[in-house]
Point group: C2
Chain length 116, copies 2
């Protein structure tokens, strides 16, 4: 495999994630309110979504700025304080809508897959 082809494959894999990433993060936070960034990264890794800090921190900041997420501080025994994230009411509404979008998209793709 050439380095170009390798780059293409990585590129396509990462493209598949785009947009879905934010959706997954919101789902994880809804499932586990009070979670902090490193644990979100671990949960994403568990579902084969490798994401790095430089991706997730600006995303969490933006969602906070947009009043979709809120956080509280927690002192840590082993390092700097942690930001514990939870959905705001607006975030819950938005996630509800995203879930509907996901189900619609997922069902359309399933129907395209039926032609395999």
């Amino acid at each position: 495999m050439t380095s170009t082809e390798n780059h293409n494959l990585e590129n396509h894999s990462s493209q598949m994630r785009k947009g879905i990433l934010e959706f997954c993060i919101l789902l994880i936070i809804r499932t586990t309110p009070g979670i902090y960034a490193p644990d979100i990264l671990r949960r994403l890794k568990d579902i084969d979504m490798i994401v790095v800090e430089g991706t997730i921190y600006p995303l969490l900041s933006r969602l906070k700025r947009e009043n979709i997420l809120e956080y509280s501080w927690e002192e840590s025994m082993s390092g700097p304080p942690r930001k514990l994230y939870a959905l705001t009411p607006k975030g819950k509404d938005m996630l509800g809508q995203l879930v509907l979008n996901w189900k619609s998209l997922s069902s359309s793709i399933t129907s395209l897959l039926r032609h395999e």
Copy 2:
């Protein structure tokens, strides 16, 4: 609803599509080899994926350049000639991989949704 909030909603809806778009286009072409761009746009619209020309033409060109798609020309009675797209063998391999990725992602999200 303020214009800012409206912008956010549109933004989030469009983000949900990112990356999935290429996957859907490849699925559509596999289902209907010899399809041309305006018909791909119509099929995307049918599954609630509104996409514009300025998005799809550069994407198709890139996939051609990467040897994932190929096309042949067809004369048209009612305008300029059309590019009829089909998957190359490499494109079929890649789509097969993307389908596996999709199934894995989809099953992970389904499991996150179970906590609703």
